[in-house]
Symmetry: C2
Subunit: 355 residues, 2 copies
Amino acid sequence: MHSYRQLFDFTQDVFLHIGCPPNDAKLAAEVLLEADLRGVDSHGVARLSGYVRLWEAGRINPKPNMRIVHETPSTATVDGDGGLGLVIAPKAMDIAIDKAAKVGTGWVSVKNSNHFGIAGYHAMEALSSDMIGIAMTNASPLVAPTFSTDRMLGTNPIAVAIPTKNQPPFVADFATASAANGKLEILQRKEKKAPVGWIQTKEGDRSTNANELKDGGALLPLGSDKVHGSHKGYALASIVDIFSAVLSGANYGPWVPPFVSFLPVAENLVGEGIGHFLGAMRVDAFRPADEFKAHMDNWIETFRKAKVKKGQKAVLIPGDPEREMTEKRLKKGIPLLPPVARDLEELGKRFGIKL
Amino acid sequence: MHSYRQLFDFTQDVFLHIGCPPNDAKLAAEVLLEADLRGVDSHGVARLSGYVRLWEAGRINPKPNMRIVHETPSTATVDGDGGLGLVIAPKAMDIAIDKAAKVGTGWVSVKNSNHFGIAGYHAMEALSSDMIGIAMTNASPLVAPTFSTDRMLGTNPIAVAIPTKNQPPFVADFATASAANGKLEILQRKEKKAPVGWIQTKEGDRSTNANELKDGGALLPLGSDKVHGSHKGYALASIVDIFSAVLSGANYGPWVPPFVSFLPVAENLVGEGIGHFLGAMRVDAFRPADEFKAHMDNWIETFRKAKVKKGQKAVLIPGDPEREMTEKRLKKGIPLLPPVARDLEELGKRFGIKL
């Protein structure tokens, strides 16, 4: 078990070591650690050495010259110059928030970036300005469209954060696949089977093998199969891909560069790096903020009071489990799985940084 | 089998008869018929007598004084004055398109409206201006949140239309439930069972009874159960509800007025009518339109060429089936189920309108 502070300092030092300017290293550590706090263990310090390997492979620029390459009063397209998504995305979100402050909403499409941690972090940035925050990103292709056996789309997450008055904010943050790859990794470590409806074999048959992706299998879109609406999950993942990459000029579909440095980047790229899409909407661009926030409280209270199914404890509001986990981990610390702890230890040894 | 023209003229005459101004009657007929053309039979002329009954119950204002009650350069909140959603939504979309023309994007939240037909129609309105169109609406509560037995949300659809160069446009239009109510109605008429994962009993147990909603059961969110991501479908339906109604001041959650006039409107309403959310984004607010559209063509061609699973014919692009259906029905006519044909016949007799 490590305290948030210990992991934060270590992570910040690693990003400093690879050449990030001090403010960027701090920001990147904050974004990455938010995943560990919220219980999305697959996206936190477990990925730190992955970012380092991408940097070693020359695929991350620690001192990017991020710039706006196209804009209107409510939009911007940002070139991330190959920087860490952990740094580029929050700065792009700042641009969206600035634009929203001026004209009601702001929308930023980002190219030439890298993985940006959890989408929820970026969406939540808008809350303190009484804005609704929206964040999405494309990612390495692992998901097959309905009726296909090819891996064409990432688990392309969508996050939406909505401000409230006295209730905690509404924070939805979810992959558009029926289950994200992180859930399969947990099953792999425990040597357990996956439920039917998460993955298919390379021929497109149903599978419960948690290692199926290594044999050419694919994740399934939210909905799992056509009868249960997988064409809707496929459409959602496609919309995320198009908003993040076709709007910005990043790579899309099968061309999205893989996160792991040992997998080759596709040939004949159609764009630059990976893409994100970030939005901010001032709630008082629609109605007085107090009115909106009072009704959001009522919305949340009403749903929380909905009748609970037998065998379940409570009807949850999006963001509830992650908030509880954050409170717990800030108090009691963040547990690391043995391979993750070993990974960080090695990294620390190589770089001369103490955890 | 009836021609599009026959059904259009009849529908237009019905809307004229209930007091809509000529231009509104024409627009309402066009929006309603778009559902029949695209094969979404549950949302087209099958609902015409439902709109009439709502008018008879005093719940539709045929001559609304629609107005903007709040705005910024990129947003507006519209009061639909109890008008037909079929008329209010396209006019609200026009406002979004106008704002996008000026500042890059336009976003309109609508209160005090009624059902607006298929979401896809409104999203597609943006295409001819080289804009991405977005449309969503809340609807009568039929869907239970994950872990709940209460019907708290509508099938709250999302539509996104994206312009292209030579390929047909990308048009996604889907309910955020695992299956929309229209699909259950088809099974009811055929006296068939529903697949597991569409509905639950009033106790929250799995059910295959297509009539389960009449016994207090509920539709399930996209994902069907927690293991397969129903919390994601629940979050999506919630986002649609909040953008459509909490932003605008319409009724949300369990307070959304039912479409059928024989069901009572909830007491202590929290807003006015039902709500929609409409958006338009100029693609050239992000990059030159030609560049964007060429890459959209490449995106579509790439996905169309993805390897097809054994037993399936093709990998589809969102909008493909509806476009093929439209071509077919414009040529060969629109088939009506016997109860729908009888319904229109009776309506025609009462109003002295010939079909």
